[in-house]
Structure formats: structure tokens, C-alpha cells
Amino acid sequence: MTMPRFYVLEIPENEGVITVAARDPANTVDHLGPYWRITAASPIVIDRRAAGCRHAVWYSAVAALEGSVITQHDKDALRVEAR
């Protein structure tokens, strides 16, 4: 079974998403090229308010999906699950 994994481009505006992802011990955050790579054994959930991103940043934060699918991306949360 694949693990949920997504990529976020390393720019200052996206740091809120990564800070929230890294705070959860279930997630592994590392780098591949100019991207942060977030991986976990279970669905990855990023709380919108905790990330503190403005509208345009929040809805463009995901750069790529590896073996995964976005099942929620709205005003409350981003949720990425294994496909």
C-alpha cells in the first residue's frame, strides 16, 4: 500500500503549511530539489487556520501528488490520502 505523499514548493509563503505538517509526529517532512516533501503512514491533514495562509497561497500550496489524492481542500483543511 502506498503512503500519502505530497510536495510543496519551498517559498516563504508556504512555510505555514510546512510548520503545521512538521508539528505532527506522524508526518515526515524532507526535501527533494526545491520542494518540501510530506509523507505519512495515514492521511495527512493540514489545518487551514493553523497554517495561517492567505486565500491565494492556501489554494495553490500543493505542487504535486505522489500516489495520493486530495480528498479535502477548503476553508477548513487540506487532506491528502493514499490513492
Binding site: 517559498i11 508526518n27 517532512v29 526535501h31 530539489g33 526545491p34 505542487a63 504535486a64
Partner: protein, 223 residues
């Protein structure tokens, strides 16, 4: 002649010479661009027809939009706008009534200013005019004000919040590669694009390790 030629770069264009649009209301157009926004009138052509085909007499006039670039209009004598003038759209074309704003406004021109002070100065000029700012939006890396000019063309004035990084250019190249691939196939979607992008990122990773060692995973472990 030396017979020696300096190697020219592949990318040789130098910005916008002019972007041109039709107008049926030159009075309002001049008020908006020259009197409200203070864009100098820098050139005009008064032409009695044009070439062998049936062609109305016209005035082609230009406003300076900075750095020698120009915004130009055509006014054709005796030419009437086509389509339902109550429908969404602009002087060039009208769209079906149900067309949402995002699509209507997707075609627009954006001019840039150096900083927030200049952006707010244009906001002040517009807000004191018959064409007040409709939106002021903080995007990912730019902040913009928007209005529609007297012809229905959306005008955006924008400032950069920070310089664009090489990483963003690289990401854009992968996005466009994935976009072209998924739109050439069946049922293109964001899901397919983001999935293809991940494949491209993995394919390029080894090359990045060599060309950009500062991006190496081991040096940036966060958890």
C-alpha cells in the same frame, strides 16, 4: 568586418511594444487613461481607410505605460459594436449572459508599479474617478488593484511583494510540462496534473542533486 559575431541570446524580445484594443468611446478612454491615470498620449495615426479592402477611416492612438511600452486603441469612424451590449464582455466582443466573471475577467492587462506607495496612488486616482477600484487583492507574490476601463477591458495594476525565485521558475516549467501532457490526453484534471508533476519531480531529482547541491535532502532535514 571582423567576421566575428557575438553570440546572441535565444530570447531576444524586449517587452511590450504595444497592446491594441478597439474602442467605441474615445472620450471616456482618453479621460480614463490620460486624465485619471495620467498616462501620456505619445503617438497617434490618422488613417483614411487601410489597404485595398473595405476599411473604415480610423484613429490609432497610444498611451505610454512606462519603460517605453504602450497601450493602444483603434477608433473606427462609423463602425458599430456587435452583439448584445447588455451582455458581459467588452468593446471587442460580448459573451453569453450566463458567463461567470472569472472567465470574463481572465482576459486582462496588468501594469506593474514599483511599490505599495505607487499602487495606492493609482488606487487614489481611480477611486476619485468614475472608475473606482473594484478589488484590491493580495495574491501569492503580488498585490493588485482592479477596475474595468470605459471599454469593459479589465485593468490590473500590481506590485511585486518579493522577487520571483529560480525555484518558482523551475516549478513553473514542470507545471507547464505536466499541463501540456495532461491536456493532450483524456479528461484533463488538476489531480492528473499534480500526479504527473510528482513523477517529473522524481525524474529530475538526481539532476538537481548535481546542479543545485544546496537543495540536497540531507542538508535540509526538518524532522
Amino acid at each position: 568586418m571582423s567576421g566575428q559575431h557575438a553570440e546572441k541570446p535565444v530570447h531576444q524580445v524586449r517587452g511590450v511594444d504595444h497592446a491594441a484594443f478597439p474602442t467605441f468611446d474615445p472620450n471616456a478612454t482618453v479621460r480614463f487613461y490620460r486624465d485619471v491615470l495620467k498616462f501620456p498620449v505619445v503617438h497617434s495615426i490618422c488613417a483614411a481607410g487601410w489597404g485595398p479592402e473595405r476599411h473604415p477611416d480610423f484613429i490609432h492612438f497610444f498611451f505610454d505605460i512606462g519603460q517605453g511600452d504602450r497601450l493602444a486603441f483603434f477608433y473606427y469612424f462609423g463602425w458599430e459594436p456587435a452583439g448584445d451590449q447588455t451582455a458581459p464582455g467588452d468593446a471587442w466582443a460580448r459573451l453569453p449572459h450566463a458567463t461567470p466573471d472569472f472567465f470574463r475577467n481572465s482576459r486582462h492587462i496588468a501594469l506593474h508599479v514599483d511599490d505599495e506607495e505607487d499602487l495606492l496612488e493609482y488606487r487614489r486616482r481611480l477611486d476619485e474617478s468614475d472608475w473606482p477600484v473594484e478589488m484590491q487583492v493580495m495574491h501569492e507574490t503580488i498585490e493588485s488593484i482592479y477596475t474595468h476601463d470605459p471599454n469593459g477591458y479589465m485593468l490590473e495594476i500590481t506590485r511585486a511583494l518579493r522577487p520571483v525565485t529560480p525555484q518558482e521558475d523551475l516549478d513553473a516549467q514542470l507545471t507547464i510540462e505536466a499541463l501540456c501532457e495532461v491536456t493532450a490526453g483524456q479528461a484533463p484534471s488538476m489531480d492528473k496534473l499534480l500526479t504527473r508533476k510528482a513523477e517529473l519531480i522524481v525524474e529530475h531529482a538526481a539532476g538537481w542533486e548535481r546542479s543545485h547541491p544546496g537543495w540536497r535532502e540531507a542538508e535540509k532535514e526538518m524532522v
